[in-house]
């Protein structure tokens, strides 16, 4: 797993690549939670290069959404088919705002 963070108009964009599973979900959580503790309320997770996410990774997204609450958002975009399928099976596609691409996500932000 690799995470590249950029900021655009006070929106933090995380480009996540590789795999998120039980072995690195804690690191993933730390990085996102740290951003929130530093005051971030608007996040976009760009999953263009995310190959796989396990339930431990889904839990982190859920935790972040709860931490941000109504004061902001976490949008997801550019899900590969196999990642999209994991979101659909778990029902997370109905919980998160998921966009086709980064431009769409930014335009709704």
């Amino acid at each position: 797993m690799e995470i590249k963070k950029t900021t655009l108009n006070q929106i933090e964009i995380f480009e996540i690549s590789g795999r998120i599973d039980a072995n690195n979900a804690n690191d993933f959580e730390k990085i996102l939670v740290q951003s929130i503790e530093e005051g971030a309320t608007k996040m976009i997770a760009d999953l263009t290069n995310l190959e796989y996410i396990s339930s431990s990774g889904l839990r982190v997204f859920l935790l972040i959404a709860k931490k941000i609450g109504k004061n902001g958002f976490i949008y997801l975009c550019s899900l590969q088919p196999q990642v999209s399928q994991i979101f659909n099976i778990s029902g997370f596609n109905n919980i998160f705002s998921i966009f086709e691409n980064r431009e769409d996500a930014l335009s709704k932000a």
């Binding site: 039980a22 396990s54 839990r59 859920l62 709860k66 994991i86 099976i89 778990s90 029902g91 997370f92």
Partner: protein, 390 residues
């Protein structure tokens, strides 16, 4: 670790040594880099060790009244404290005593008259060695505690999974077989089944997010709540609605569980179910076709209070199999980083209908194992197969 916490004990009957050392190392003493304790013979040194348990380095003379340095070394050896290091100080050329001291476990030696530059190097080297050793011990302790954590999680998981097959040997109208191969860091998979009444079998398969003891406890709580609620015989969706609200109170830091809960009526062949974010099971039809059970439009248990779980129904035919699994099956990885996939599972399932329940499950267990080419599992691999004879 702060090395100033490690005290240095100087053991020598020469009373002039203490002021000399205090003078030579006054800067280091003032800066708290060195913290000295003084004793004048071996016996007194042992007493000081009890008084100052933070002594790490001992600089000891050999010829002393009451108890000499060589005897002190023997006594220190009995303490079996590996992070206690003794440096002996001996007359120049006293090779016999130095050899004896080294054989009795001395860490190093110095010769008299003391060269203070050399003494400082020796003290620093000894402190460094103690630091490394204590660090290694700390890491070792952490490793042990992680291993204990894992074995507790594994025990919880193994204790709640039913493992006797066939589970209902008197029933000729259905058969059940299940398999759970745990990942090294237990993933939190579980399955369960129970008779609601004479006709209806309740069954569940689930996967808790996360690993270790917290996940194992959440799994045990989930399984217990589903079973206790399920045996009351309420519709599948209602059952998970009730369990979900209870689990929402238990869940810390958004831990959740995906669950498929079904009720099979052995008299009518009707299957009702609800799916809380779990991989959809398959019906291996008696005619060889494969049906993926439609989702009920629901999500995981444990996070969203008052989520309404829908119940769907489907009619089974005699000799149909219901095959349930967790994502450890379809998301197994091989050396090339490829995923096992739903497609590979479906292809295999199409070739196994009409086999007994245990053979169906074992064929898939073996195929996943072959596919993974020895790559360690990152998740538990769990399957449950129920054959309806009618």
């Amino acid at each position: 670790m702060d090395l100033s916490n490690v005290k240095i004990m100087v053991v020598d009957d020469e009373v002039d040594l203490e002021p000399l050392i205090r003078q030579k190392f006054r800067h280091k003493i003032r800066n708290d880099e060195y913290n000295f304790v003084f004793a004048h013979n071996g016996l007194e040194a042992l007493a000081k060790l009890i008084e100052h348990p933070d002594i790490g380095v001992i600089l000891s003379d050999i010829n002393m009244p009451e108890m000499d340095g060589l005897t002190l070394l023997l006594k220190l050896k009995e303490l079996k404290n590996p992070s206690l290091k003794t440096v002996v100080v001996s007359a120049y050329g006293d090779m016999d005593n130095i050899r004896t001291a080294m054989n009795r476990g001395a860490f190093d030696f110095l010769t008299k008259p003391i060269n203070f530059e050399d003494l400082e190097i020796t003290i620093n080297k000894t402190l460094e060695e103690i630091w490394q050793q204590r660090n290694a011990m700390k890491e070792h302790d952490q490793l042990i505690s992680i291993q204990q954590d894992l074995s507790v999680a594994r025990e919880i998981q193994q204790a709640i999974l039913p493992k006797t097959f066939p589970p209902f040997p008197n029933r000729k109208d259905f058969d059940i077989y299940a398999s759970m191969v745990a990942a090294k860091e237990v993933g939190g998979d579980f399955y369960d089944y129970f008779m609601i009444d004479n006709d209806r079998l309740g069954f569940v398969i689930g996967d808790v997010s996360g690993k270790g003891v917290p996940a194992a406890i959440f799994m045990a709580v989930s399984r217990t709540l589903i079973r206790a609620t399920g045996v009351k015989g309420m519709p599948a969706g209602e059952c998970l609605h009730y369990v979900n609200n209870l689990l929402c109170n238990e869940s810390v830091s958004c831990m959740f569980v995906t669950v498929f809960y079904g009720i099979m009526n052995m008299k009518s062949g009707e299957l009702e179910y609800t799916n809380a974010g779990h991989n959809p099971p398959y019906i291996l039809s008696h005619d060889g076709s494969l049906i993926k059970l439609e989702a009920t439009g629901n999500t995981i248990l444990g996070c969203f209070e008052d989520h309404i779980y829908n119940t769907k129904k489907i009619q089974l035919n005699p000799n149909d199999d219901l095959f349930l699994f967790t994502d450890g099956v379809t998301e197994a990885f091989n050396k090339q980083g490829e995923i096992y996939t739903d497609e590979r599972l479906e292809k295999l399932l199409l070739s196994v209908n009409n086999l007994p329940v245990n053979e169906i499950v074992n064929k898939i267990v073996n195929d996943v194992d072959q596919f993974a080419q020895g790559v360690p599992q990152s998740d538990d691999i769990t399957m449950l197969n129920i054959k309806y004879f009618g």
